[in-house]
Every structure is written in C-alpha cells, then in structure tokens.
C-alpha cells in the first residue's frame, strides 16, 4: 500500500500543477483525449470549449471526482494521486461547483465549519470560524455576514460563501466551473475583483466560462478544448474575442440581430394588473401590465430578483396569480394549470432547467416528449409510440446538434449546455404560438448562442409572440422589438428598440424614471 502524497501532513504550496495525457472515457464518449494542461502560481487560466468539449470532466478529474483512464497529475514536478475530493483538498485544490452544496438552514459560519478536517473536538468553535471568515472576507473583498442563514442569501453571495469555504480550507488552486453563468452583470464585476485579489495573494485559478469578454478581461492564459482534445494553449495577451471564438468552434461566429420590422399581429399574451407572491411569501409581482403580439419579441431587462422569474412562472401556470388577469390568445388563463396552457400553444424555456426543464433520470427521448407525452405524434390511446419517438428524437439531436452518445442516454449525463439544448429542442420544435424564454442561452457556448438567437428570430418570423427574459443586456438589445424594464415587481417602462439605449435602461433598472 503506497502512502499517497495527499496524506502527508506538511504540503508544499502549489507552484506548478500539470495534468499530462489525461484520457477519460464514458460509455459512448471520449470526454478527454490525451489532454495536457498546466497552471502556475498566481495565474488565471481560462478553460474554453464548446458544450460537451470536456471541460467539467477534466476539472472533476483534477478534483478527484472521476478517475481518469490514463494520464497523470504532477504538483511541482511530483506525481500525485487524487482519488477523492478529500485528497484534492489536502493538496490545496478547491472547487466551486456550479451547483452549490450549502445547507440552507445553517448560517454562513456553520456551513464553513461543516466537515472541517481540523475539528479535533466534536464541537467546533463557531466564534473562531466566524472571526476567521470575517478576516478572509476582508482580505478578499468577499463581503458576507457570517451569521446570515444561507436561505437569506442571493446567488452571488452564496458563491462567495463557497469561495470562502475553499479559502478557509487553505486552497492554493481554485477551480471555478462557470461561476459567472448565474451572476448578474454587477455581481460579475465584483467577482472579477475578487479573482484579481486572489491572484495578488498568489492563488492560482482555473476559470471556465462561455463569455469571451471575461476571458479577455481577467485571464493570463487560455486553453481551448474541442471534442475532448486540446486544440490550443496560449497567453491571452493579444487575443481578441474573435480569435478565441474561432479556436473554440473552428469557424467565425456572427451573432444575428433583429433587422426586419415586426409584423404586428394580434395580441397573443396579455397581463392585467398581475400580482403574485415569491417563494418566500413576499409580493414579487405588484401589478404587471404587458402585451405581446404575434411576430414580436419583447425583451425583459432588470436586475435579477425583481420579479422576472415569477413573471415567467405566472404566465406558464406554474405560480398562482393572487390578483389580476392573464389572457393567452384572447382566452383568460388565470389559474389554469400548465397542461391547459400547453394546449393553447405555449412553450416555456425555464430558468431552472435542472429542476423544471428536464428529468435527469429520464433518457433524452423521454425528455423530448415531456410536454407532449400524451398526444400525437408521441402517443395514441394512452400508448407511447416508441418508434416515432425515436425518429423524432434522432432528428432533433441532429438539428440542434445535441452532443450525446445516444437518445437513450440519461439526460443528466449530458454536459450542461447540451441539457439546455434538449430543453430548447423540445420547446422550439413545437412551433409555439407564445414562447416564454427565460435565460435561454445561460451556460451554452457561443456557437449554440448563435443558433438559439437565429432560432428565436425564426420563431418571430413565423409569427410567435415571444417574451425573452434575460440578464444579458446585449442579448435583450439585439433581439427585442420592445424592451420592458422590471423593477421591484413592476414594469417601469416599455421602450421601443430604437429608443432603448443602455444608459436609459440602466436608470430604469435602478428604479429611476428619466425625465
């Protein structure tokens, strides 16, 4: 039994970490194919690649969550074995998952104390933890209240807790898997400040993102994966967004914009003085009035948490309307269940795709039929028509370029972006009359963004009434005929695309009505 490096009590600081010839094979896919990768002390190293390129897999190997089929990892020239996150933590590697693992009902300090390896006694001194947390928070600009309960915190703050947790455990090297995907633009700015502070303290960071401007703004080097292989590794200095995009996708990317004037059709979606409560029982919508016509895209801008999620849920029948009325295709649908809205031709790309959008234990096929499983062409007289389901699924997999070993793979095994594509394929292929798209491009690569944007514009051409809720202001501005700005559960104003300039929208988002 060889003593693994990980158990040595005194460890060196990670000055140089190398992954060499890493290969990881899943049933039907080579997720990593002889990948070389290295990080040096004090640098931010971006890991780029299309959805399913193998980024998360490579990082899970580094963190001991997967065992590679081949390859080795060296720290400061010494080979190490990392068989579990425990080994990784002991070596000074920390990982911030996209899926936070915090206990809602405990405080920040309690969460940080949870599972601390050093707590020799049964009772960890929470005051000590809280004090040390505050010190760390001060040093790195990660402001959170150690006494606050997790459920009280916004997404961005939870992320800070995760980072603090890793810092507390003495991590030198941080793996951040798409940390900015869930953040608002303001939070992203703060987050970048934190990253800079961390590198100043000689920490190393591996940063996965699909937003190329973030790479340009914060990273020292970049490694690009394509289909599991490393295709480039170079300094960021001198690279443009276009260069990076070309490396990732293999061709140039041009994001489409609205060009044609809207073909103003009839009103398909109408909200009158709609009120609704949030999950926590506070008033999330306070009298929303809105109309969306066939053939137009109405963008909804706003700082997250101002009622956008609740708006989407109320329209799609997933949240109760406490006051006010909703009409779809001229029919009142207030209080109708999702099943009825589906029949009226409503499609919905939900924001929380892992919770609402897919059933991860179901196969890709089974997920494709989720919203229509009881109807033609997928079913007849209560029986599923597996042959037709298979044909349609295979067609959608090709059409939407879903990277999956087969249609029978459990959807939960796909990469994040490909899961989103399954949702999109299902919703967009229904040729909806009304489409509610909440954060449709969150977590997908730029090739896919191009595809999704084009598709939304095609749906608009085809006469769908589209409500586009997005935290990405560029996305809203380039696709919308009109822009509605939400603030504290109300729509502050609705601007025509030609009047919608950033400054004005920014003010409205902050609740200020420009005179």
């Amino acid at each position: 039994m060889s003593q693994s490096q990980a158990t040595l009590p005194l460890r060196q600081k990670i000055e140089h970490l190398e992954m060499r010839g890493i290969t990881k094979i899943f049933p039907g896919v080579v997720a990593n194919d002889r990948v070389d990768f290295d990080v040096r002390e004090g640098e931010v190293h971006a890991l780029l690649g299309e959805n399913g390129a193998g980024k998360s897999t490579l990082m899970k190997i580094l963190y001991g969550l997967y065992e590679p089929n081949e390859g080795e990892i060296r720290i400061n020239g010494q080979p190490v074995r990392i068989r579990s996150p425990k080994d990784a933590i002991a070596l000074g590697i920390g990982m911030i998952h996209q899926h936070f693992m915090l206990v809602d009902t405990l405080t920040v300090a309690e969460n940080i104390a949870l599972g601390l390896p050093s707590s020799r006694r049964f009772i960890t001194d929470l005051d000590v933890v809280a004090r040390r947390t505050l010190e760390l928070a001060e040093t790195y600009g990660l402001h959170v209240d150690p006494e606050a309960y997790i459920w009280q915190l916004a997404v961005g703050q939870r992320q800070r807790v995760e980072i603090l947790k890793a810092l507390y455990r003495g991590a030198d090297l941080f793996i951040l898997d798409e940390p900015t995907a869930v953040l608002t633009p303001q939070e992203v700015d703060e987050f970048m400040g934190t990253m800079r502070q961390m590198t100043r303290e000689r920490h190393s960071i591996i940063f996965i993102t699909h937003k190329l401007h973030e790479v340009i703004a914060t990273c020292d080097r970049v490694t690009v994966l394509r289909n599991g292989r490393r295709v480039a590794s170079r300094p960021v200095d001198g690279c443009t967004k276009l260069d990076l995009a070309r490396l990732m996708v293999g061709h140039d990317i041009v994001l489409p914009k609205i060009t044609s004037a809207p073909k103003q059709g009839e009103v398909r979606l109408q909200l009158q003085e709609v009120h609704a409560l949030s999950e926590r029982g506070t008033l999330a919508l306070r009298g929303v009035n809105l109309q969306v016509r066939a053939g137009e895209i109405v963008g909804v801008a706003g700082v997250s948490g101002n009622g956008q999620s609740e708006l989407a849920e109320v329209i799609t029948g997933l949240r109760r309307v406490t006051q006010g009325k909703i009409f779809v295709n001229g029919q009142e649908t207030t209080g109708k269940p999702p099943a009825d809205l589906l029949q009226l031709g409503m499609a919905y790309i939900p924001e929380e795709r892992m919770r609402d959008g897919i059933i991860s234990d179901f196969t890709v096929s089974e997920n494709v039929i989720l919203r229509n499983h009881n109807h033609a062409p997928y079913a007849r007289r209560g029986f599923l028509l597996h042959r037709i389901i298979a044909e349609i699924t295979d067609r959608l997999i090709r059409l939407f370029d879903i990277r999956t070993p087969s249609r029978l793979t459990p959807a939960g095994n796909l990469s994040g972006g490909n899961i989103q594509k399954v949702v999109l394929a299902r919703e967009l292929s229904r040729t909806p009359k009304v489409l509610i798209a909440a954060q449709p491009t969150r977590g997908v690569d730029i090739g896919a963004i191009e595809f999704i944007h084009k598709n939304l514009l095609d749906q608009r051409e085809a006469g769908a009434a589209i409500l586009l809720i997005s935290e990405d202001l560029d996305e809203v501005l380039s696709l919308s005929d009109r822009v509605a700005v939400m603030y504290e559960g109300r729509i502050m104003d609705i601007l025509d695309a030609k009047d919608a300039e950033r400054g004005k929208i920014g003010l409205l988002m902050a609740g200020v009505r420009p005179e």
Binding site: L65, M101, T105, L318, M354, D356
Partner: protein, 382 residues
C-alpha cells in the same frame, strides 16, 4: 488489496448484482450464527434447499408462496416508482380478501361468473383501501408511510372483528374452539389446481400475466410515463403538464389493487375460506411486507419481480423445512429472513445513492451532510 476492492466497488455492473450479493451476505452471516448455535450450516442450508426445491410438492409450495409476493411486488413497483412509499400492502391484502370472501359467500351464481367477479372485487377493495392514503397524501399532504401503516392496523381490527363475528363460519360459531374463519366457498368458485395433488393453483398464471401487463403499463403507456416522471422529478412533471397529485393517487390505488387481488387469490385459489390466527399477519403471512422486499430485490422492475418472488417463496418454504430437520429455533428463520430484508433494502438505498452520486459527481464531504439536511440548490451550469 484496497485498490482491488475500490475497483470492484466502482464497477457499475456490480449494481445489478447487489441484491444477490446482499442475499449471499445474509446467508454467510446466518451460517456464522448457526455455527454458534452448534448446528452445521451445511446441513441446515441443505435442508432448506431440498425443502424448497427437493421434490414436486416442495417446488409447488414455493410457487404457491411466491404468488402473493409477486402480486404485491408488482403493486409496489408501481407505487415506489412514483416515490410513493406504500407500506400498506398488508391492510390492502386483508381488505381485498375480506370483501371478496364476503361476496363469494353471499352470492349463488355459476362459477364462471362468480370467480372472476370475486377476484375483481378483491382488486377493487384493495384499490379503495390504497386510494384513501393516496388522497390524503396528494391533497392533504399526509405522509403516506404513516397513513398506510395506520390503515394496516385498521384492516387487522376489521378482519378480527368480521372473522370472529359477522363473517364467521356458522359451524365454528357453534363449536367450542371458535376459530376465526369464514365458511368454505362454493366448490364452483375455486381457482383450478394445476398439478394435483400439490396445491399449485392457477393464481400463478394470473400473476405472471400481470407482470407482463405491469411492464407494459410502466414502460409503454403514457400513464406509466407519468408515474415514473412524478417519481423522478415532480417539478419538471408539473411543467410537463402532468397533474402530480392525481398520479400519486393512481399509484397508491393501483398498488393497493394488486395487494387486494393477492388477498382474493389466496382465498379463491388456496384456502377457499378466509382464515386468521388472530395475529396481525395471521391471514397475509407477512406477504405485505415481504412483497416490498420482493419488489426491491427485483430492482422495482415488474419482470425482475418474478425471479425475486420465487427466491423469497423458496426462502420461506425452505426455512420451514430447515426448522423441521435441524431444530434451529423458529426465531432463527425470522432472523435470517430479516437479514436478507435489511441487506437487500440497504443495498437498494446504497445503489440509489451511488447512482445519484455518479450522476452528479458532487461527492464532496459535505454532500452527505447536505443530503440529510435540505440542500440549497441553484441551477447547475456545467
């Protein structure tokens, strides 16, 4: 050595054999206990084996025992896949038995009419008994584990009252001993015996046919799709236009129906009367609980339940034989049975956890703690 085990424990294929490994482990520990009691485990297990499979009659008895386990197991496959923990098969089986025997004793019709109707009525009785906790869970948020267990207790009391009074065999009522049993059903109503003089009856054919029906139901119908969807992810199900509470009721109702049918078949196929010894499992023989284990052992798959029920049938019959041959206390049989149950159930839970872990691969040290408490989940992006 450690690496070897790590690799074996990581192998995905192993999961499919977990129930078998669990059963073997129970037998090995059982062997140790037998040694401590001064009995040769080989003799004991050989007696068990020949008791279960040794001759035509033994085999027939094993199958006879397997029938209610299979039927109940089928129902459990349905409800557990909807993540509805039906612990009430005991009560549902009792009620199915009571109502079907009451019907059979009350009517004087030709057999071709009364027999299928009697079984159907048992099916419906179990369904009704299952629907009650289903409705309580779906619309009033009452935990189904608690309510089904309470429904079991009510069913037992009902049975003891009815068999000791209103439904009691008039001859017994006259007799001194006063056995709690009903009168015998009309000869014409009996299910056919397949292999006289053994007690193997046509109920086994019904159970096998229904295994196939449940397989089709779960994997080839929209209803089965909805039931499985609700079990995996109620949020996404609702988004998919599925009425979640309705599926919960249907799952428990169907689950109860199969248990009710098991009760009816026990009467129309085996005993021709309803009989109890006054203990809670006097009529069911614990089939309501063993059926749950059967379903788990079969991987909650209706076709997997067939060999699983055969295995447990053999275990029950063989254990009796072992007791006769080796004089091990009868409680040992219960212990052995219990160990198999515990091992199989924990293996099933372990498998579930591993599967989830594999899928999510968030095996951080906190995840286990987080598993226990409520986890704060933000949508994953990777």
């Amino acid at each position: 050595m450690k690496r070897f085990f790590a690799r074996v424990l990581n192998a995905r294929q192993l999961d499919n054999f977990l129930p078998i490994v669990a059963a073997l482990a129970a037998f090995v520990i059982g062997a140790g206990m037998l040694l401590l009691m001064g009995t040769n485990p080989l003799t004991a297990y050989r007696a068990m084996f020949s008791g279960a499979f040794g001759n035509q009659n033994a085999l027939a008895e094993t199958i006879v025992k397997a029938v209610p386990l299979l039927l109940i197991g089928l129902g459990i496959c349905i409800s557990f896949r909807a993540k509805v923990m039906n612990i009430g098969a005991e009560g549902q089986m009792i009620v199915g038995g009571l109502i079907s025997v009451a019907f059979g004793l009350a009517v004087d019709w030709p057999g071709w009419l009364a027999l299928p109707l009697g079984l159907l009525i048992g099916f419906l009785g179990g369904a009704a008994w299952g629907a009650i906790p289903g409705i309580l869970k779906a619309y009033f948020n009452v935990n189904e584990i608690l309510s089904t267990v309470m429904m079991n207790a009510i069913a037992v009391q009902l049975m003891n009252y009815l068999l000791g009074g209103p439904l009691m065999d008039p001859q017994q009522a006259q007799a001194l001993g006063k056995l709690p049993e009903t009168a015998r059903l009309n000869e014409a109503y009996h299910l056919a015996r397949l292999l006289p003089p053994t007690r193997l009856h046509a109920g086994v054919l019904i159970a096998l046919a229904l295994s196939f029906v449940v397989y089709v139901l779960l994997f080839h119908t929209t209803l089965g799709y909805r039931i499985r969807a609700v079990g995996f992810n109620p949020f996404a199900s609702r988004y998919g236009g599925i009425r979640v509470p309705q599926q919960v009721v249907i799952a428990l109702l169907l689950s109860g129906a199969f248990a009710g049918l098991a009760g009816a078949i026990q009467i129309y196929g085996l005993n021709y009367r309803m009989i109890t010894d006054g203990s809670p499992t006097g009529f069911t023989g614990g089939a309501g609980f063993n059926g749950i284990v059967t379903a788990l052992f079969g991987g909650l798959h209706p076709l997997g339940a067939i060999p699983a029920s055969f295995f447990f049938g053999a275990l029950l019959v063989g254990a009796n034989a072992m007791q006769r041959v080796t004089q091990v206390p009868s409680s040992f049989v219960t212990v052995l049975n219990g160990m198999v149950v515990i091992f199989v159930v924990s293996a099933a839970i372990w498998k579930e956890l591993r599967e989830r872990q594999r899928r999510m691969a968030f095996a951080t040290e906190t995840s286990r703690l987080a598993e226990l408490a409520s986890v704060s989940e933000t949508p994953p992006q990777g």
